[in-house]
Amino acid sequence: MSPPCCGFLSQYTHHHLVTFLLTFFSYVLLHASRKTFSNVKVSISAQWTPSVLNGSSPAYSPGQTWEENKLFEDSQEATLFLGALDTIFLFSYAIGLYVSGVIGDRLNLRYVLSFGLCGSAIVEFLFGTVTEWLHFYNIYFYCCLWVLNGLLQSAVWPCVVAVMGNWFGKSGRGFVFGLWSACASVGNILGAFLASSVLKYGYEYAFLVTSAVQFAGGVVVFFGLLSSPKEVGLSMTCESAMSPVQNDSDSHRPLISDEEYAQEEEGVMCDGGYYSVQRSDQDQDQAPELGDPPVAIGFFQAFCLPGVLPYSLAYACLKLVNYSFFFWLPFYLSSNFGWKEAQADRLSVWYDVGGIVGGTVQGLISDFLGKRAPVLAVSLLLAMGSLVGYSHSPDNQVINAVLLAVTGFFIGGPSNMISSAISADLGRQEVLRGSQEALATVTGIVDGTGSIGAAGGQYLVSLIESRLSWMPVFYFFITMTGVSLLFIGPMIISELRSVCQEMRTRVHQL
């Protein structure tokens, strides 16, 4: 009884497409609202401060138009506070990720996702639009709202990865997830577009539009999302017999990995035990507890799953580099090369583009190989090289853009893969044997650790840059990339060993 497999695309139904698009756009909207906040920072700090007077000239009149708002004395203080808001947001996002992953595995994914999207939209509306309409500017209010926003937004990522993991099996997961994890970068582009087109009416309208669209997205997700194929009685897309799917925990198994045995194993382990209705009677003996619904895994159990800890720590270092690039790049470009902020913003899009391409291509390659860690290792080594190259970039926009895209390819690729495809792999390992729901919890852990790394990095980068210069910042990035390589070292070694063993057995068979 061979699994009903399947050419690559024919196994996907329209449900898969809709799920892909809905989860994709949920995260796009979330990132768009974050990017909106970054883009309106100049307008917000202008709103919070009185007018700048040159020299000893008296204050402008009338006071309501020019001097009234004195939340901060000058734009430097306002910028410091905006940076502090970023850090607060990232920390509460990280904490929320740990919690939301656990919640997502226990509750209905669709409810948690819609709640996160709509709740976050309401908080953003309060933060940006209501405070401006009421002219109520208060530091503590802003901080509390942003903490709440971080907690609510953290519900989204684990749920979307879990839903994707439910619908898309291991075969092709690398490619599909690579393509799908472009959502963050698409969100950045959409957010920049929305903010720039509405900003002239006032920054409060930028918040209004993004939060309204995000709320609408939450409503559409609530009515249209199927969190797993079970809900419509479909089978999970099974392993293709072509790609060997030995996990590193298989390395201790006997080496008799002939086709029959592999298929039998795959039949049992068909990604967490989702079976189609017609197969259930045949597989009764081998099917693990088909009657019992999967139990959600505990937080510490999930933490102790093989591979979760090293990948989380590696992701912390990678996300630090990724986010620091994302947040500081326009500032670095305009302060180091003296380019205008609009130009720097446009150039920084290339990093995102490189990340999208990198995630997709590397996901595809890792699917062909059946292994993720070696692809990551090669990419991270090349990333260190490209960082060295970028730090010595000449004052030429074209060359800078090319180097930026290359760096984005090598850093963004592994980063996207770890946060999506690998998290899905980890949450669906054989160790769980389909009896435990761990996908959202594991995703939450990996991304939560990553966000803590990113939050810490924001502070460190500004510290290093103000004490020393930009070169040490790049050395710091290179070191962090190397450290993340070290963390996934054991995984690389064991996967390489199993690759060698497979090749040896194939040679023996021939």
């Binding site: 809709v18 009416y201 006032g202 009515f223 199927l226």
Partner: protein, 222 residues
């Protein structure tokens, strides 16, 4: 006291053309506008209504003060004349005032004739007025100059999106040009709320309905 209050309330309830707001500035001292004074002559020529020391002129729905005569009032301090900011002629002579802050006259864009005791300087300095004469008893400041155009060129720079406008003798204000409005004239135009929310609402409804029909309608578990 009680009748006074009821009178106030009833007069407030009575509608615009008979509105006689109790402007404090008109009653800073006793007596009313005299015919023989400069302000009195000016008031008569405009057929304005006299109330206390003020001369009122009716312009359509609104009435505004065009003249104020506080001469010979034994005033030692003059602090707030803002109620008379629309005045064209003000007489403060024969008062034992030692000094007066320039900001008292901020907002007096119509003021073209100002009589002050000779102890005082013209507000905004002599450069803010076309003609300044002093005969030892009274200082006369005539024809306020546009402070935005000092010495023939724009000596006052307003921030972006705003233009200089006069705001009294020696005062300027920066008011937003064109479509700009709001704090620091940062905002431009009106946000098309109806259009945006109309499109958003209808597309959300359509998308939700379509997706529910194609996806969730057959869902077995909640």
């Amino acid at each position: 006291m009680f009748t006074f209050v009821t009178l106030c309330i009833t007069s407030l309830l009575f509608g615009s053309s008979y509105q006689q707001m109790e402007f404090q500035v008109c009653h800073l001292c006793v007596g009313s506008l005299q015919n023989g004074t400069a302000v009195g002559y000016f008031c008569a020529s405009l057929s304005g209504r006299v109330e206390g020391r003020c001369c009122w002129r009716q312009q359509g729905e609104r009435a505004s003060i065009v003249g104020l005569d506080l001469s010979n009032c034994s005033l030692r301090h003059i602090e707030d004349l803002q109620e008379a900011s629309t005045a064209v002629m003000i007489d403060l002579s024969s008062n034992p005032v030692i000094n007066i802050s320039d900001s008292v006259f901020q907002g007096f864009i119509e003021l073209h004739y100002l009589r002050l005791p000779s102890t005082l300087q013209c507000p905004g300095g002599n450069a803010s007025w076309e003609k300044v004469t002093s005969d030892g008893v009274v200082c006369l400041c005539e024809e306020q100059k546009d402070a935005c155009h000092q010495d023939g060129n724009m000596s006052w720079n307003c921030p972006e999106n705003s233009l200089c406008a006069p705001d009294g003798p020696g005062f300027t204000q920066c008011s937003c040009t064109g479509e700009y409005h709001g704090y620091k004239c940062l905002r431009e135009g009106q946000f098309p709320t109806g259009l945006v929310f109309g499109i958003l609402g209808s597309s959300t409804f359509l998308a939700s309905a379509l997706l529910w029909y194609t996806q969730r309608r057959k869902a077995k578990f909640t």
